[in-house]
């Protein structure tokens, strides 16, 4: 390991948080696009939302936006909760309808 890299790691700045957020976002996208289970897809969505939250907070900490970023973050958490409630209700109904929550099997809109 190069000492400069370790040094960079030891001194966390904005870029660290952005990279973390990007990694988290990519993982979320991966989950959404590749998971078969609807629940897992929803979890991916949560990851994406939280990566966005990290971005908000990071920018709020390292720039002069003071507490605006925190407020947006709180909103996102609330909206995410609401979204999860609605999404789970949809999933429940989809399960009732199709007797499965495997996304590959729910493809009625196939052209």
């Amino acid at each position: 390991m190069e000492p400069s890299f370790l040094q960079w790691l030891a001194d966390p700045g904005l870029s660290h948080f952005l990279i973390l957020s990007a990694i988290l976002f990519s993982l979320g996208i991966m989950a959404v696009l590749s998971k078969r289970n609807v629940i897992m897809v929803l979890m991916g969505v949560e990851l994406i939302l939280n990566s966005a939250n990290i971005n908000f907070i990071a920018f709020s900490r390292f720039t002069d936006l003071s507490l605006d970023g925190h407020m947006i973050g709180l909103f996102v958490i609330i909206v995410a909760a609401a979204e999860a409630a609605v999404a789970l209700a949809i999933v429940l109904n989809a399960y009732k309808r199709f007797k499965t929550i495997n996304l590959d099997d729910i493809s009625m809109l196939k052209g």
């Binding site: 996208i29 959404v32 696009l33 996304l103 590959d104 729910i106 493809s107 809109l109 196939k110 052209g111």
Partner: protein, 678 residues
């Protein structure tokens, strides 16, 4: 009150017609008493009207009119007008009609369509009375056509006979030709004066208004209206229908084709007399003269008793027309009246003979001998005394022997033509007049002698002959009485002093002075001057005719056949009716057939060709446009649809229905846009 009587007279026969048509067969005796009764009431009313009218010595008309229709700003008035002329005519029509009704009870007994026959008689009487009492040309034309149709129906009464239905058609069609001219004449007058009423037309002409402002048009209008008379009164050249009309029952011939309907033409000319110009009258006079001559020559040669009488009728009608043409108005009309009596009598007498012959032939079971051919008769005098004596009286009257009614009127006509020729030199008219007088006496006495005198042609038939029943002989006696002079003038040698001449005055001419015929006054003076001479000549001519007839057929001093041989072409021509029928059938009937053949060819080849050709062209055009439709237009539409279909097919492949695939697209597209724009 006087205005309602003519209307009652008019409507009674119509009532009879309606009742007989609907209920005739159900009535006792098939309703002959009903028709006869109604017409008898008409007769009594007519006589009452005439006596009142004539004894009042006033020329005042009984008239009544009302507005019938309004057209734009104008209106058409119709109504009735009874002057002395019409009053006399009413009596003539109803009298002959009544007698014929009674006579028919005998003659038509056991006929298959007995009640129908009486119904038609009623219709005819109604229409004929309509002609007489109307005061305008429109109603007259309507009634004119009605008598035409009733004549058609009655001629064709025995329509099972082909010749009868043909004769009915011929009568109707030939009459149409004349009526067409009359219609044009009426239309010229209506166009010029916007009225159909006689009085109004005459007063307009009198005030100097002429049709299209020209005197020639007035003459033309007069001659065109006279065309109607040419048709109905069987004048040359439309006289051919009348002899054929003898196919109808004989009483019908007496009523329609001798006494009344054929006289309607004469009555029409008398009605429009004031508006006739001197030129129009000259045409009328010559038509009458030619007709009387042609018909008289034919009558001499015929053997059918009814045909002789038919040609005699045409000849006498020609006389009347000629009389009106030369201006002898009263004489012409008087001849109409006297002729109605004795010619109706002659026909009824002939009917009586034919009836007797039929009965006799029927008993002898002979169905081949012609009951109307005089060559099968002869010697009927003793068998049918009443018929014989009345027939003799009629024959004397038509021949113009003194003390008969015929002498009075015929003598005045001849004096009129003679006076006319002294005024303007048309000497051919009196020459024809006197010649026809001699011929009339000749053919009538020939008929009388061949029928009643001499030896029977076939004893077996003649021995079975009986006098006709009372119902037939009484009308004959009535008519025979009316053929005597006393009913028309108390002076047996001159009609001018009688009531008839006082009642029927020549109407004043209303046409402009330059083209006016000689006035009544001038004319009367001319007649006065030569009356004596005319009378002597006419008696001589009649006497000569009678003598020749006796010499040829009674005493056989002159051989008729040899005489005919000497006459050669003349006899042949007359015997064949001067080939009028042949000429018409070649020229007009044949011409019409050729014309229709040409038209048919034209129709089948040219018109159909054009139609078929255009259909063919349309077919070609439509097949071309059909091809364009199927290939070009449909091709474009289908191509659009196919393109859309294919595009849809392609695009539907990416619609997998899998949410995550869509998300992949979104992310991928986002990345692409990101790379492109940042």
């Amino acid at each position: 009150m006087f205005t309602t009587i003519p209307i009652i007279i008019l409507l009674l026969p119509l009532l009879g017609f309606v009742l007989m048509i609907f209920f005739g067969k159900k009535l006792p005796r098939q309703g002959d008493w009903l028709s006869s009764g109604l017409i008898s009431i008409s007769l009594l009313l007519s006589i009452y009207l005439l006596i009142n009218k004539v004894s009042s010595h006033s020329e005042e008309m009984i008239s009544h009119s009302f507005t019938w229709v309004l057209i734009g700003s104008g209106s058409i008035e119709i109504g009735i007008a009874i002057d002395n002329l019409a009053a006399v005519m009413l009596v003539v029509v109803t009298l002959v009609s009544t007698l014929v009704h009674f006579f028919s009870m005998g003659y038509m007994k056991d006929d298959v369509r007995y009640s129908r026959y009486y119904a038609y008689l009623g219709l005819f009487s109604f229409s004929m009375l309509g002609i007489v009492i109307t005061n305008n040309l429109l109603l007259m034309y309507a009634a004119w056509e009605l008598v035409g149709i009733s004549s058609y129906l009655l001629i064709g009464h025995w329509y099972e006979k082909k010749s009868a239905s043909n004769a009915a058609n011929k009568a109707f069609i030939v009459n149409r030709i004349g009526d067409f001219g009359m219609f044009i004449g009426i239309m010229i007058l209506f166009f010029s004066y916007s009225t159909f009423t006689f009085e109004a037309i005459f007063s307009s002409i009198n005030s100097g208004q002429l049709p299209f402002g020209s005197e020639q048009w007035l003459t033309a209008a007069g001659i065109l209206i006279f065309c109607g008379a040419v048709g109905k009164s069987a004048q040359f050249p439309l006289h051919v229908w009348l002899p054929d009309a003898m196919e109808g029952p004989t009483p019908v011939s007496a009523l329609i084709h001798a006494a009344t309907m054929v006289a309607a033409g004469v009555y029409l000319v008398a009605r429009v007399f004031p508006m006739l110009t001197s030129d129009a009258l000259l045409v009328i006079a010559y038509i009458g003269a030619i007709t009387s001559l042609i018909a008289a020559t034919i009558a001499i040669t015929q053997f059918d008793i009814k045909k002789v009488l038919a040609y005699s009728t045409i000849s006498q009608l020609g006389y009347m027309i000629m009389a009106l043409g030369v201006g002898a108005f009263t004489a012409g009309f008087m001849h109409l009246v006297t002729h109605a009596a004795f010619k109706a009598g002659l026909f009824l007498g002939a009917g009586s003979v034919i009836y007797a012959m039929h009965e006799s032939l029927h008993k002898a079971k002979d169905h081949h001998t012609d009951a109307q051919d005089v060559r099968n008769m002869g010697g009927l005098k003793s068998k049918m005394p009443i018929t014989y004596i009345t027939f003799l009286v009629f024959t004397l009257a038509i021949s113009g022997i003194p003390f008969t009614s015929g002498f009075l009127s015929k003598d005045e006509i001849l004096a009129g033509t003679l006076a006319f020729s002294t005024m303007n030199g048309h000497w051919i008219l009196p020459v024809i007049g006197f010649a026809v007088a001699a011929m009339t006496a000749l053919y009538m006495f020939r008929l009388l002698i061949l029928t009643f005198h001499g030896k029977p042609a076939d004893e077996s038939i003649i021995s079975g002959i009986k006098e006709s029943p009372k119902v037939m002989t009484v009308p004959l006696m009535v008519l025979a009485a009316l053929s005597l002079f006393v009913f028309y003038s108390f002076n047996p040698l001159g009609a001018a002093s009688g009531w008839f001449y006082a009642a029927i005055e020549q109407p004043m001419s209303v046409v402009p002075e330059l083209i006016q015929p000689a006035s009544a006054h001038v004319f009367h003076e001319a007649v006065e001057n030569i009356h004596g001479m005319a009378m002597i000549i006419s008696i001589l001519m009649a006497g000569a005719g009678v003598l020749l007839a006796f010499a040829m057929y009674q005493w056989k001093k002159v051989n008729a056949d040899k005489l005919a041989e000497h006459a050669g072409v003349l006899y042949k021509g007359a015997f064949n009716k001067w080939y009028f029928d042949e000429f018409y059938s070649k020229a007009f009937v044949g011409g019409t057939i050729i014309l229709t053949k040409i038209l048919r060819w034209f129709d089948e080849n040219i018109i159909d060709g054009i139609v078929n050709g255009s259909a063919h062209i349309t077919k070609i055009i439509s097949s071309i446009s059909g091809w364009i439709d199927n290939n070009v237009v449909d091709g474009l539409v289908n191509a659009t649809a196919n393109t859309a279909d294919r595009a849809g097919g392609l695009l539907s492949k990416i619609q997998t229905g899998k949410v995550q695939v869509y998300l992949v697209y979104v992310v991928f597209s986002f990345l692409v846009l990101f790379i492109l724009f940042l």
